[in-house]
Symmetry: C2
Subunit: 346 residues, 2 copies
């Protein structure tokens, strides 16, 4: 375990200079800075304990902390819950803002006092996350899953339940079934899309014009609904793979006087228990993000305690399909409905 003094000897400078470089304190000439950085690497220097102990488990957002969605809220809640019995604190970290390009993830963690982290991924952060994986720190990926052998993922597999949901609609006589998902496309959403597509293709009902991505907010759900209902051959059912969008759509249906499910069936998605707050109770593919947050922390704890070899590749639970009252038989003669509420028979 090399100390700052060894690095100093290696680089031919004083320990003060090394300290400055490590902490990015400035006042070091660019040339020397590079030289010291290299020495840090060749010595495999790691800030030692004694500086301070690592007391936090962190939820890190690769590109900006964002706890707006029910999913994130529930995850945080689950994490806090799982950490109650430990001695760690929960730290919310914005990597994009705080991590210096020149430092390794390990250095970053030590600087912040982070022992392990749950990473909230989205597809655009995948490359960065994959690079972090090689450092062997305790990490767990949440909110996305992709192929990276070194990383453990925690997610609820939603393919099967999504298939059930779409089959449910088909069995109710729906021929034109639309799909909407959050525009941030991660592995979780892709699963749902491919399940949708698979089922519809097997019934020769797939139409790519009925697939859309919208931002994950209620107002966008309302907009989505208006768009869908105004189409000349409008869908009679929508599978919406995001809770806020689904709720927004259902509310907008009420506002337009569209009866759910008589005029339009909606199957939503639920990360916690939003489906129980809407009326009629939402038919939905469900997962419990609280449980995911807990599982993520537990995975971290086991990584921390035992050898990192114990890393399991993925911890999955299964999403489930729950029939509520927003899905029903397809209408025989679905009227096109304009944003004004006016109906046009097609």
């Amino acid at each position: 375990m090399p100390s700052i003094r060894e690095v100093a000897k290696e680089a031919g400078v004083s320990i003060a200079t090394v300290s400055r470089v490590i902490n990015n304190a400035g006042g070091v000439a660019p040339g020397l800075h590079r030289k010291v950085s290299e020495a840090v690497k060749t010595c495999r220097y790691e800030p030692s304990v004694g500086k301070r102990s690592l007391t936090s488990i962190s939820l890190i957002y690769p590109e900006g902390v964002w706890i707006g969605s029910p999913y994130d809220s529930a995850c945080v809640q689950g994490m806090a819950d799982a950490m109650r019995e430990t001695n760690f604190d929960l730290l919310l970290v914005d990597v994009k803002r705080d991590k210096l390009a020149s430092e390794s993830l390990k250095q970053f963690f030590t600087r912040k006092g982070i022992l392990g982290a749950v990473v909230r991924s989205t597809s655009s952060a995948r490359t960065a996350i994959s690079q972090w994986a090689v450092e062997g720190l305790p990490l767990v990926v949440l909110g996305d899953h992709f192929d990276c052998p070194k990383l453990p993922f925690v997610y609820a597999a939603s393919t099967a339940a999504s298939r059930q949901a779409v089959e449910h609609l088909v069995s109710l006589g729906h021929q034109r079934i639309a799909f909407a998902a959050c525009d941030r496309d991660d592995g979780d959403h892709l699963d749902r899309l491919s399940a949708y597509r698979g089922v519809l293709e097997s019934h020769q009902l797939y139409d790519e014009k009925l697939v859309c991505r919208v931002p994950p907010h209620r107002l966008d759900g309302a907009q989505l609904l208006r768009n869908m209902l105004g189409m000349s051959l409008r869908p009679t059912a929508i599978f919406i793979a995001d809770p806020l969008i689904a709720v927004g759509a259902i509310n907008e249906a009420h506002r337009l006087g569209v009866r759910v499910p008589e005029d339009l069936s909606i199957i939503g998605f639920d990360d916690c228990d939003t489906r129980k707050s809407v009326y009629p109770q939402m038919t939905a593919v469900c997962q419990d993000a609280t449980v995911l947050g807990r599982a993520a922390v537990q995975s971290l704890l086991s990584q921390i305690e035992s050898a990192p070899a114990a890393k399991r590749h993925a911890t999955t639970s299964e999403a489930w399909f729950e029939v509520g009252s927003t899905s029903g038989p397809a209408p025989h003669n679905p009227a096109r409905i304009l944003p004004s509420g006016a109906r046009m028979n097609s």
Copy 2:
């Protein structure tokens, strides 16, 4: 600024022992431990920087981290939002679990690297919080308000809006108006209760049998509704000062076939935008907890930057009353409704 060595001299022990005492590392005889603790106090010792810098702003829960309610979720979100432009991280801390009885809040903060904290208060934590106030650290209290000159509070004043809400019900002809609130009683809820009581007393309608406190969960809201509807002289309207309870009650009404607002008016409370997810859209007293979270952080930042003299006693916004579709004229002959759904005319 005294160092650990001065304390050692004062107590007549070695610095190692002082270090052990400070970190509660054990292996120190009780007598000596007390002696050193006293020396720490008389020297006014404070762990120095160099140990590490203070990088976090914390949300501290006096008695267990709990982010289950929409209020807390929204606050966290608002805090994270406000901290995006700063260089601080958000740390969630459980004081009950982590703070040693023997250490001061300042020591606790230094140990954790906390610069300032938003305190999520409830009435049972008030005495502890008041004691912390005298240490002069950057603190802001959220979720409760009470009389403590040294503490800045951030909350939305809900008295006026609550009065409006109850007056609204009275003006619709309701004579028996119930009140329900979360059983955790903090200043925010007390305001709403006293507003309710004030209005009803001025109309000679107050009946203490119609006031109840229930745990802040949906299922308890359902239970509440069954209790209320089964009463022999049942209320025709309920003012529910907690969002989850309100939603639970509305859902249960649907389940029992009780028409809202024809059979029963419900006015709820909303911390963010839950009212927009329920159907019919909930008449509610509203506050935006996201804004409160942001304001709390801003107050902290101003305390940190400028002198602590700049502490304002309280930052309040106003809650507002929003009429939705769950409130309407009082029914002429309100039937008593049993949990089975059976109706008994009274």
